[in-house]
């Protein structure tokens, strides 16, 4: 009875799912063909098992190097954002000090401004610091996040006051309370922020595109854009490269699917 009523639902969901996944299957198929097979009319739906397209990716771009770069960039950004944002968010949510709310509003204004409004001066700051074409340079502005602070502050505000009060009565100072009482409580919020930062950092294009030109210092997103610049429309090689670049994030998602979806659902509810 119940399953009978549900089959149209499954059909609709399956059609949608097919539309979501089909491009990736086509990408995989093309990545294993020669250019001649890929441009055959009508299309051939059999892979040519041409693994050399993948080898070509590794010779055209320092893939492993760029993969490591992306990992390092992402790890540093996530760690820094979690630390800086949670400290500031806790202070904004719970500590009292003159100018707190004005300061918070000023920080928040960054959220409202498109990245184009600070891109060029950021670039110049890095240039003057001699940090163009360095991982430090790519990472630096992304260590600080107005969004993360806002999100975690909301989270701290939603936590009950009594645990904190109890700790205070026990004589714990603000830092102790923050570090050993509040942070553990804020774990779901921290995980959400961490997940979103990983996603953003891994896929970020414009900033690293602007500040790196040395293939050895690029993250994968820029390396891929450069690969397209060199192989213009050599689709099999481009498909192989883009598949390799996307794969780590897809695997990470499959592994920690629940965390990620919870994290996103959390931002949507605020």
């Amino acid at each position: 009875m119940r399953s009978q009523r549900l089959w149209p639902v499954h059909v609709l969901l399956a059609v949608g799912a097919a539309a979501m996944v089909a491009p990736f299957l086509w990408q995989l198929l093309t990545s294993l063909q020669t250019l001649g097979e890929a441009t055959h009319v009508p299309p051939t739906f059999l892979p040519g098992w041409r693994w050399s397209n993948y080898a070509e990716v590794f010779t055209s771009m320092p893939f492993l190097r760029q993969f490591l770069n992306t990992v390092v960039i992402t790890v540093v950004r996530v760690a820094a954002q979690l630390l800086f944002c949670s400290m500031a968010a806790y202070a904004f949510a719970r500590l009292r000090f003159p100018g707190r709310d004005v300061l918070f509003l000023v920080m928040l204004s960054v959220l409202m401004v498109p990245s184009q409004a600070y891109l060029l001066p950021q670039y110049q700051i890095l240039m003057h610091l001699g940090l163009l074409n360095t991982l430090t340079g790519i990472v630096l502005p992304g260590l600080f996040s107005a969004f993360g602070t806002f999100m975690l502050r909301q989270f701290f505000l939603s936590l009950p006051l009594d645990v904190e009060e109890a700790a205070r009565l026990d004589g714990a100072g603000p830092v102790r309370i923050f570090w050993s009482v509040m942070l553990p409580l804020a774990k779901p919020g921290l995980i959400s922020l961490g997940v979103l930062t990983v996603l953003w950092s891994w896929n970020d294009l414009l900033w690293p595109l602007v500040v790196t030109s040395d293939a050895g210092r690029m993250p994968l997103s820029v390396g891929l854009a450069t690969l397209q610049g060199e192989h213009v429309t050599d689709y099999p090689v481009l498909m192989a490269g883009s598949l390799l670049a996307s794969l780590p994030m897809i695997v990470m998602f499959l592994v920690s699917q629940r965390r990620i979806t919870e994290g996103i659902a959390f931002t949507g509810s605020k």
Binding site: T34, L35, T39, V41, I125, S213, A215, T226
Partner: protein
């Protein structure tokens, strides 16, 4: 715990403070000639990096106190980065220069003149290249390599259609006739690919028609000249009149050199630099012939790179030693053996020609006799970019050739007037 945290805070504050005051200047290394010196060498082609590294190693052996670091920037970003670095005084000491940018860089005092340096010699290089890299009577670039354009063709498609291979005797009409015979819509093959690319296609046709792009005094452009127009018309007719070339949209979706490499296109005018690509394309049996003769005879565009010295380098003497070495026979022989480019040095083309015996690469060297320099002005970049946008519109059928030519002329002339 507290101590750890405050240490972190201090570190963070330091980072932020250092970035807030953005006026720190990078200290220039010691400029004295006796101490060890490190030069940076800016290039953009990953295919040529091994050869460049070999040259650097050979140079360092002769000059033990000089180290050279190669900085590779992909072509798509090279000029953007270079210009920003030059503005802040941080460009590489020695770098690659193209004909389209020499006017800007030399004209704005970003380069050191080579003329008058001890041991400077321009005679081993083609006069047309020396000419392009001479601005205001002084030569700024040491020619590195050169390239010309040839008519690449797919032997299999020619055989299948029973058409004789192109020869040096071919004219425009021969190409048109052949392209008609070679086009087969049922199989999805075209006789020729005629994109709106200037160096590979349009400029050659314009010169073969007797037209011109930029006047010798660099004050006006020739896009509305009847002969120039007939050259452009010839290239466009393959798409609009004979329908023997893929359309502009098709060639955007799939690059013409890829269409040629995958056997969809029988003829394609392209530079020597793609020889390696066509050699490695699976199943492709190609060769190359000289460009056909137009109403005013033969012509091919010649272009080439040069090595230049940054005006604000702290190591001018060491940089000159390096550039002088780059312009010498030994360095050019290394380039030739690598097969990636034709070295600019006279008489070294042979080694390159022999590197791919399946192609008649000698064609590219022989065409030097009727080579026309790539058209440039004091600041080529802006009008070349603007022209490409207008050409894209003409090729896409959104502008008629005549209306487009008017726009090309007015845009280019306006930029030329800025000097």
């Amino acid at each position: 715990m507290t101590r750890k945290l405050s240490a972190l805070l201090c570190a963070a504050a330091l980072v932020a403070a250092a970035s807030a005051c953005s006026s720190s200047t990078s200290a220039a290394g010691g400029g004295d000639a006796t101490g060890p010196v490190t030069l940076t060498y800016g290039i953009w082609d990953p295919n040529q990096k091994p050869a460049m590294q070999q040259i650097v190693t050979a140079f360092e052996k002769l000059h033990p106190n000089i180290t050279v670091d190669i900085e590779l920037t992909p072509n798509a970003d090279y000029w953007q980065k270079l210009q920003t670095e030059a503005a802040s005084g941080t460009a590489p000491d020695v770098f690659w220069m193209s004909t389209t940018r020499i006017g800007l860089y030399a004209g704005q005092g970003q380069l050191l003149p080579l003329s008058g340096r001890p041991g400077f010699e321009s005679s081993p290089f083609p006069a047309s290249l020396n000419g392009i890299y001479t601005v205001g009577g002084k030569q700024y670039g040491m020619p590195k390599d050169y390239d010309t354009i040839g008519l690449w063709y797919n032997k299999k498609l020619f055989d299948a259609a029973g058409v004789a291979y192109p020869t040096a005797a071919w004219t425009w009409q021969d190409v048109i006739d052949a392209s008609k015979k070679l086009t087969d819509p049922a199989k999805g093959t075209w006789g020729i690919a005629s994109p709106d690319w200037t160096q590979e296609n349009l400029y050659n046709d314009i010169f073969q028609a007797g037209g011109w792009v930029v006047s010798p005094d660099k004050k006006s452009s020739g896009f509305t000249d009847a002969k120039t127009l007939s050259g452009m018309q010839y290239a466009l007719d393959f798409i609009t009149k004979y329908k023997t070339s893929p359309t502009a949209q098709q060639m955007t979706d799939t690059d013409p050199s890829q269409l040629f490499a995958s056997g969809k296109v029988a003829m394609f005018t392209d530079g020597d630099w793609d020889a390696l690509t066509y050699k490695n394309a699976p199943g492709l049996q190609a060769d190359v012939a000289p460009l056909p003769a137009g109403p005013q005879g033969r012509a091919t565009v010649i272009n080439g790179l040069a090595n230049v010295i940054y005006a604000r380098t702290p190591h001018a003497d060491a940089a000159w030693e390096f550039v002088r070495f780059l312009g010498g026979q030994q360095a050019n022989a290394i380039q030739a053996a690598s097969g990636a480019v034709i070295p600019a040095y006279h008489g070294l083309g042979d080694a390159w020609v022999k590197s791919m015996p399946q192609f008649h690469l000698q064609t590219f060297v022989d065409q030097l006799d009727h080579a026309v320099p790539y058209p440039v002005s004091a600041n080529t970049g802006p009008w070349a970019t603007a022209d490409q946008t207008i050409l894209d519109q003409i090729w896409a059928g959104k502008l008629s050739l005549n209306a487009g030519a008017q726009q090309l002329k007015s845009t280019t002339d306006a930029d030329l007037a800025k000097g």
